[in-house]
């Protein structure tokens, strides 16, 4: 009984706050959905481009939370108190969540009734929200005009001397090592783990930094801590525009997908899916790309983008051709064991 009252009061307070935030344009809001994303500086663009218009159109309020966290999802499902109606998720996390039964099936008759999405974006438990690549970035001022072209060059410390930076994770680094060792991109999986670690042994002494956050990747390059390292593709273009001597190469990049998923026990799955549908608008998608170069598969999106910007996107055909397709299935299965081995390998 008390529990009920507290919950009701919480709702009331929440509704009140939302109304106050809406100011005079107060809509009679039936429902407010909670959308969990990565937050940060992008949250404002998302609010302007998607959330506000969605509320104006449907009367459904959107409340955004951050960050994306698998442990939190797990805890929420296990305690049966799902805070989120919709959440962003990385590829391997997605598979982990499906395996454990933490997600609700997407009702595609709501999200994409005309079946316009390509099959890759339409999955049973999730919709691709964006694509991104982990690629090599390098300092253009450090190699006397020469530019690295591939993972083999990354490993070649004679022709391209200087410290390197890699992510502190076996995920993708094992693939990169195999690519450097000459394994063709379509023959990577299942990974030859022994061969990959052996190849990594060769570069380990030259890796000055193992980054853990997105903020670090470029900071390391700009600080000169590393002359070559891995980054997410979206980080470099703004710095290049600013005149910083950095560039990326797409060759051997890891093309990855991130998803929208509705967690099991979500209180407003229908409304969440309506919101997913609104995220497929190509005009809005093109607007968002100005702030964040991680496109989804919204039909007609690429046509709306100017060709200059399109070339810097992970799904531009030229870029897709030289990258490998990251396999989250493999990693969902082996991540735990390989992460432990990775951590121990770093200590030796």
């Amino acid at each position: 009984m008390t529990n009920m009252t507290r919950r009701d009061m919480g709702r009331l307070a929440l509704g009140g706050a939302a109304l106050a935030a809406m100011g005079k344009s107060a809509h009679a809001q039936a429902v407010t959905i909670t959308v969990n994303g990565s937050g940060g500086s992008l949250a404002k663009s998302l609010e302007r481009i998607y959330e506000k218009p969605f509320t104006a159109e449907t009367g459904i309020g959107v409340r955004s939370t951050a960050p994306v966290s698998l442990p939190k999802l797990k805890a929420m499902v296990e305690t049966g108190n799902m805070e989120w109606d919709l959440t962003e998720m990385g590829g391997a996390d997605m598979i982990e969540a499906i395996k454990n039964g933490w997600l609700t099936e997407i009702d595609w008759s709501i999200v994409d009734p005309d079946n316009k999405l390509p099959p890759i974006a339409r999955q049973k438990y999730g919709m691709v929200t964006s694509t991104f690549s982990t690629v090599i970035a390098y300092r253009t001022d450090k190699f006397g005009g020469k530019a690295p072209k591939s993972w083999a060059d990354f490993w070649d410390v004679k022709s391209f001397p200087g410290p390197r930076a890699l992510q502190d994770s076996p995920v993708q680094n094992l693939e990169f090592a195999l690519l450097a060792d000459g394994v063709p991109a379509d023959k990577l999986y299942p990974l030859d783990v022994e061969r990959a670690f052996k190849k990594l042994d060769q570069i380990k002494g030259n890796v000055a930094a193992w980054w853990t956050t997105g903020a670090q990747q470029v900071q390391l390059l700009v600080d000169g801590e590393a002359v070559m390292g891995t980054v997410w593709n979206g980080r470099v273009p703004p710095l290049k525009k600013e005149g910083k001597p950095v560039d990326i190469i797409w060759n051997g990049g890891a093309l990855q997908l991130s998803y929208w998923a509705v967690p099991k026990g979500a209180k407003h799955p229908r409304e969440a899916m309506l919101y997913m549908k609104s995220r497929l608008d190509p005009d809005k998608g093109a607007q968002l790309l100005q702030d964040s170069p991680y496109p989804g598969f919204a039909p007609g999106l690429i046509e709306k983008v100017n060709p200059e910007l399109a070339k810097t996107l992970p799904i531009h055909p030229d870029n897709v051709a030289v990258q490998y397709r990251f396999d989250p299935d493999y990693w969902s299965e082996h991540r735990q064991k390989l992460t432990e081995r990775w951590a121990a390998w770093l200590l030796t």
Partner: protein, 269 residues
């Protein structure tokens, strides 16, 4: 070695320590005025861009305000609970005082991610997440140990005979505490208050799990960190430091003005 030389040496040492402590802050000032998207030194183009973001973007100013609010509430709670417990542990010879002391510092030991996960599981079930009250109490758990450690150390050092004398002379325990113990403990309580405030103000991990959609300053920074370290953070730090220095200046000015008036009144009268 004359005492004066010793004092001079200590002063020099103190200056060096303060320089070391303030070193990163000295960097933050130019960084916060740098136009660049990324923290880089030395700055190339000067601008107020990040200060504009800090004050105009509601997500930053709200986060700052929320952090200060929670910090103050946590400090008050921790002082009351912590001082009372320290008194009980040190002065009242409670059975199992050692054990109690051990328990009281346990929250500092258990890595916050573990407490945070535990709190999250429990509060999710109780539907306590996303409330200011929960967040304040959760922070108090990690703030109160500082108060207990500092205050009980001071209490142990405090000569108990004075308190006993006050009691013998007829003061009740409450008056003894207020008039004798408390004034003597003031520096320690002040130190404890500072620790408690900053324990809350800078907490990231517990907030990450317990706060729901409420965004404190560290959380705001953290949510950005996944993509980039925004120079707004440097601007926010500079504002905080400037505010604390101004507050300090006002307090000092008020104090010395008060002293001067006191002195003048004395000479006049």
């Amino acid at each position: 070695m004359s005492p004066r030389l010793v004092r001079f040496g200590l002063g020099l040492w103190f200056c060096a320590i303060v320089l070391f402590l303030l070193f990163p802050l000295v960097f933050l000032i130019p960084l916060s005025f740098n136009e660049s998207e990324i923290l880089s030194f030395p700055p190339t183009v000067w601008s107020l861009r990040w200060y504009r973001v800090l004050f105009l973007d509601a997500s930053w100013s709200n986060a700052l305000w929320l952090s200060v609010k929670i910090g103050v509430l946590v400090t008050i709670l921790s002082l009351v609970i912590g001082t009372a417990s320290a008194l009980a542990i040190v002065r009242h010879r409670l059975p199992g005082a050692s054990l109690l002391y051990g328990l009281s510092i346990a929250p500092l030991i258990v890595p916050s991610i573990v407490i945070a996960l535990g709190m999250f599981m429990l509060f999710a079930r109780l539907q306590w997440l996303e409330s200011l009250t929960t967040l304040v109490f959760a922070h108090t758990v990690v703030a109160v140990p500082y108060v207990i450690v500092v205050v009980s150390a001071a209490l142990r050092n405090l000569d108990e005979t004075i308190e006993r004398a006050a009691r013998v002379l007829g003061a009740d325990p409450w008056r003894t505490f207020l008039l004798v113990t408390l004034p003597a403990l003031r520096p320690a309580i002040l130190a404890g208050a500072m620790f408690a405030f900053f324990a809350s103000f800078d907490d990231l991990v517990i907030t990450l799990f317990v706060s729901g959609a409420m965004e404190t300053l560290p959380l705001r920074i953290w949510n950005d960190l996944n993509l980039r370290l925004d120079p707004t953070v440097a601007a926010a730090s500079c504002v905080m430091v400037a505010m604390s220095m101004i507050g300090l200046g006002i307090a000092e000015f008020a104090r010395s003005a008060g002293l001067r008036r006191l002195r003048m009144e004395n000479t006049d009268g």
